[in-house]
């Protein structure tokens, strides 16, 4: 049977319990939001195939239980993942502080060159916000990881986040391929686009003025 995709990327969602990992995944895979989600026990994944610069990319996105106690089990699933979303909840200071621990956790358990991205979720709940967008950006600069605030509920930046991460992985992969096979270097058709977060109005929508 012919493959229905050009690439398969394994992505992983990690972060404290209750930051909205499952909601983000549900938003991305089903474009829906459910107010009464249940906590994730163990591990699960969802699939969505996207078109990325003319290539069909199948994203296999793994959703993990957030509580620290289960890490010994969940880290077993880090292996082979090519991109990791580190999620915190902008209304929960602790979940933000823990991002550093999660990064350490990745360093110990995932491959060294895994692509990462930090997501500050629940940015629709402005009244309850405890972590400013600036602090999120600062952390991202510190670790040289891309960052975006998201809202799974309002479908804000969720698409953007996954596309960006997928794009980065694809770029890295193609770079490797070209390096190993310079004769077959591609023409300019698949040149990478500017990867900076787009400075559009919808990005700044959640900033506190």
């Amino acid at each position: 049977m012919a493959k229905t995709y050009d690439y398969l990327f394994k992505l992983l969602l990690i972060g404290d319990s209750g930051v909205g990992k499952t909601s983000i995944l549900f938003r991305f895979s089903e474009d829906a939001f459910n107010i009464s989600f249940i906590s994730t026990i163990g591990i699960d994944f969802k699939i969505r195939t996207i078109d990325l610069d003319g290539k069909k990319v199948k994203l296999q996105i793994w959703d993990t239980a957030g509580q620290e106690r289960f890490r010994t089990i969940t880290t077993a699933y880090y292996r082979g993942s090519m991109g990791i979303m580190l999620v915190y909840d902008v209304t929960n200071e602790k979940s933000f502080e823990n991002i550093k621990n999660w990064i350490r956790n990745i360093e110990e358990n995932a491959s060294a060159d895994v692509e990462k991205m930090i997501l500050g979720n629940k940015c629709d709940l402005d009244a309850k916000r405890q972590v400013s967008k600036e602090r999120g950006e600062q952390l991202a600069v510190e670790y040289q990881i891309k960052f975006v605030e998201t809202s799974a509920k309002d479908s804000l930046n969720v698409e953007y986040a996954f596309y960006t991460l997928a794009r980065d992985i694809k770029a890295k992969m193609e770079k490797k391929q070209e390096a190993s096979n310079p004769a077959g270097a591609r023409s300019g058709t698949h040149q990478l686009r500017d990867e900076r977060p787009k400075p559009t109005s919808w990005l700044s929508r959640c900033s506190v003025l």
Binding site: S17, F33, S36, G42, C206
Partner: protein, 708 residues
């Protein structure tokens, strides 16, 4: 700056579920210009608690569709979901708001899913589809499943994709009244009744059977019954169907009106075994027949005849336990679950009869056997569970129990006071406590919220759930709160309804499974390893397949084990499964054999489709709510008997199941055509097991007397 535009609407309502990418294809009374636009389909709760389906056009929240998104436009035609506030919010916005479509759920009459999950139609008037929505992602089934959480529905006779809303209000009042009159429940709360109503919906047959004898009178001879009943009278109709199915068990009573009834009463289909065999089964092979089949030397000549008999009706218990080796031979030929011996639930009468005049229960093992066989009748669960969960000691008199209850109540409230009296300042300086509290809060808010008992905002049961879990943190601060505990507690609270009782039963349950929540997860890892060893022994081909697919560690069973299958079954089924497991019969770690039984049933799929690491996990996760508790229990029991009658049993397996280590003297396999009588080999009538340091006689005369 406010960041969400939907919240800016004057109507203070809450989105319970939202589905984007929904096109409004047709809507009666709307200008054509309003149609064919993309929007969001929601289930919304209004301020007054009423709910409605709402479709909102996307341009209510203006979309940036031009410049910024171009490179993705190619990629994903439905990708333009980003909404901004950059558009002007004046006249366009007002116009868009006027285009919102609202269908109050109490006016919704029917709905229909068609075109391969791409289309949904709604009707508030018989025979007219007022609104048609097109799901761009082709995932209408997701919306459907959430909608079904909020309205009671029945499928229609003509079209299996059309659902008729069973009017909630009037109907339920009548039902509540009927149930109250029937006095089925010891605690006649609305929640219990609701639980039953929802069970009717989910598992009509079983639920019906439970209330059957009492309800018969009401349905057939009660007031207001004249001729044909209303289509919307779902429960009564289900009863009628079930009854006609019962009256003629051999004929296949098919009803297209309610799909659920299409499932035959006793067992759902299982590929290799013809189910008719169980339905039309004869009487079990009895001891008398068995004796008559042997020649004077104890040989059995009519082997095929015996097999036929067993295939029809199974084996009587007495033979079953006397001839483990012989039974094993048959196991290899006929599926294990043919040996299922059906029991009836422990009834009120039996339970009352088991207590001595002072209220002590002396025949503990007998009671456990009965429960293991047939579960507990729902009406006495609240009482029996307290014993099974070691809250009430079996041998205590009623007077002693009364004072114990008083003592435990005081104890509970003093522990509750410990955390309730903590000041804000204390909390601020007590991060470990704070973390636990926040975890509990998060999980309570997402525990079984679709169940009527826990649904809705400010549901008082959620506060009780939280209070118990917080008090447990004080009871066992080292363990604290771990995810999964709220899942364990919810069915206990749902059944017992009482805070103190639920707490102590929860404590008892946690005693049994506390190693699941070890900080280092050693308990879970040990169980996964044990499961792997059992698999290798019982289904070596599947174990081999899993090992070759990097799944040998059995991590995909993690959820099953952590919360004892809570996420895999409905509340009703989990109660049945748990009470069987609490008996500790027939061996230690029987829950691992439940895992083996489930996986064994999936073996063909997993191997023939050559499922790999990810597919195995997906397949196993997707089994949730698709499992039949009775089949699984009997298969697991069959596997247990397979194991104990195996002549070559490693100490490893014995240790896992708590079987005695000393190997019995080798018994030569009987000739295929000759079955010797088990008594010749000195088999005892009792199989003695060791579990938790106690010796358990599995087969006692008392038990047989009770079963008879």
């Amino acid at each position: 700056m406010s960041c969400s535009s939907v919240e800016d609407l004057p109507e203070q309502c809450k989105d319970l579920f939202t589905q984007d990418g929904v096109l409004l294809k047709a809507s009666l009374g709307r200008p054509i210009s309003d149609l064919n636009s993309i929007g969001m389909l929601c289930i919304v709760q209004n301020m007054d608690g009423s709910k409605c389906i709402e479709w909102r056009p996307n341009d209510l929240i203006t979309i940036d569709s031009d410049t910024q998104d171009q490179e993705w436009a190619v990629v994903n035609t439905i990708g333009r979901r980003q909404r901004t506030l950059s558009g002007n919010m004046t006249s366009d916005y007002e116009a868009a708001r006027a285009r919102i479509i609202r269908i109050p759920l109490d006016e919704l009459k029917s709905f229909k899913v068609s075109r391969n999950n791409q289309q949904m139609q709604f009707s508030t008037k018989q025979g007219v589809w007022q609104n048609t929505c097109y799901f761009q992602h082709g995932n209408a089934e997701i919306f459907l499943s959430y909608l079904k959480n909020h309205v009671k529905t029945a499928k229609t006779r003509h079209d299996r994709n059309t659902y008729v809303v069973v009017e909630p209000n009037a109907e339920c009042q009548v039902l509540n009244k009927s149930f109250a009159e029937l006095d089925i429940f010891t605690e006649n709360t609305t929640d219990v009744v609701w639980n039953l109503v929802s069970n009717f919906k989910q598992r009509p047959y079983e639920t019906t059977m439970e209330a059957f004898s009492k309800l018969t009178d009401i349905v057939y001879y009660g007031e207001g019954v004249n001729g044909k009943r209303e289509m919307s009278d779902e429960v009564a109709d289900l009863l009628t169907k079930s009854m006609s199915a019962l009256e003629d068990t051999t004929s296949i009573t098919r009803s297209e009106e309610y799909e659920v009834i299409n499932v035959k009463p006793t067992l759902p289909p299982r590929p290799s075994i013809p189910r008719e065999a169980l339905n039309s089964r004869g009487t079990p092979l009895s001891t008398e027949k068995w004796d008559g089949l042997q020649d004077p030397e104890g040989r059995i000549t009519e082997v095929e005849g015996v097999k036929q008999l067993i295939f029809r009706g199974g084996v009587a218990h007495s033979i079953y336990f006397q001839h483990p080796v012989w039974v094993k031979n048959i196991f290899e030929r006929i599926a294990p679950f043919m040996f299922k011996v059906e029991g009836t639930p422990l009834s009120t009468e039996k339970w009352d009869g088991l207590q001595d005049p002072e209220g002590r229960i002396t025949e503990v093992e007998g009671v456990k056997q009965l429960i293991f066989r047939g579960g507990v009748a729902h009406s006495i669960r609240h009482s029996v569970w307290k014993y099974l969960l070691d809250y009430y000691p079996w041998k205590m008199t009623k007077t002693e129990l009364k004072s114990l209850h008083k003592k435990r109540t005081e104890e509970y409230f003093s522990m509750k006071l410990q955390w309730r009296s903590m000041t804000e300042g204390q909390e601020l300086r007590f991060s470990e406590y704070r973390d636990r509290k926040s975890l509990v809060e998060k999980d309570v808010n997402r525990t079984d919220r679709t169940h009527p008992f826990f649904a809705g905002d400010n549901n008082p049961n959620l506060i009780v759930l939280q209070d118990i879990l917080m008090t447990y943190v004080m009871y066992n601060f080292d363990l604290g709160y771990v995810q999964g505990m709220s899942d364990i507690l919810a069915p206990l609270l749902l059944l017992l309804g009482n805070e103190v009782d639920s707490f102590w039963c929860f404590v008892g349950f946690m005693e049994k499974i506390s190693s699941n929540f070890d900080m280092d997860q050693a308990g879970m890892k040990q169980q996964l390893l044990n499961l792997q060893q059992l698999m290798a022994f019982i289904t070596p081909d599947l174990a081999k397949h899993l090992a070759s697919k990097d799944s040998g560690n059995m991590y995909f069973c993690f959820r099953w084990l952590l919360v004892w299958f809570k996420r895999e079954f409905s509340h009703r089924d989990i109660m049945r499964l748990w009470e069987v497991l609490w008996t500790g019969l027939p061996c230690a770690n029987f829950h691992l054999l439940i895992c083996v039984a489930i996986l064994d049933a999936e073996k063909d799929v997993l191997i023939s489709k050559d499922y790999g690491f990810t597919e195995v996990l997906k397949h196993v996760n997707d089994l949730s709510m698709c499992l039949d508790v009775d089949i699984i229990l009997s298969t697991a029991e069959g596997i247990y008997h397979q194991i104990v009658s195996s002549p070559h049993l490693s100490d490893q397996i014995r240790l896992i199941l708590g079987l005695p280590l000393a190997p019995k003297p080798e018994v030569p396999e009987p000739e295929p055509t000759t079955f010797s009588n088990g008594n010749d080999r000195g088999e005892t009538e009792e199989v003695t097991l060791e579990y938790n340091g106690h010796e358990i006689s599995v087969v006692t005369k008392t038990v047989w007397a009770l079963l008879a």
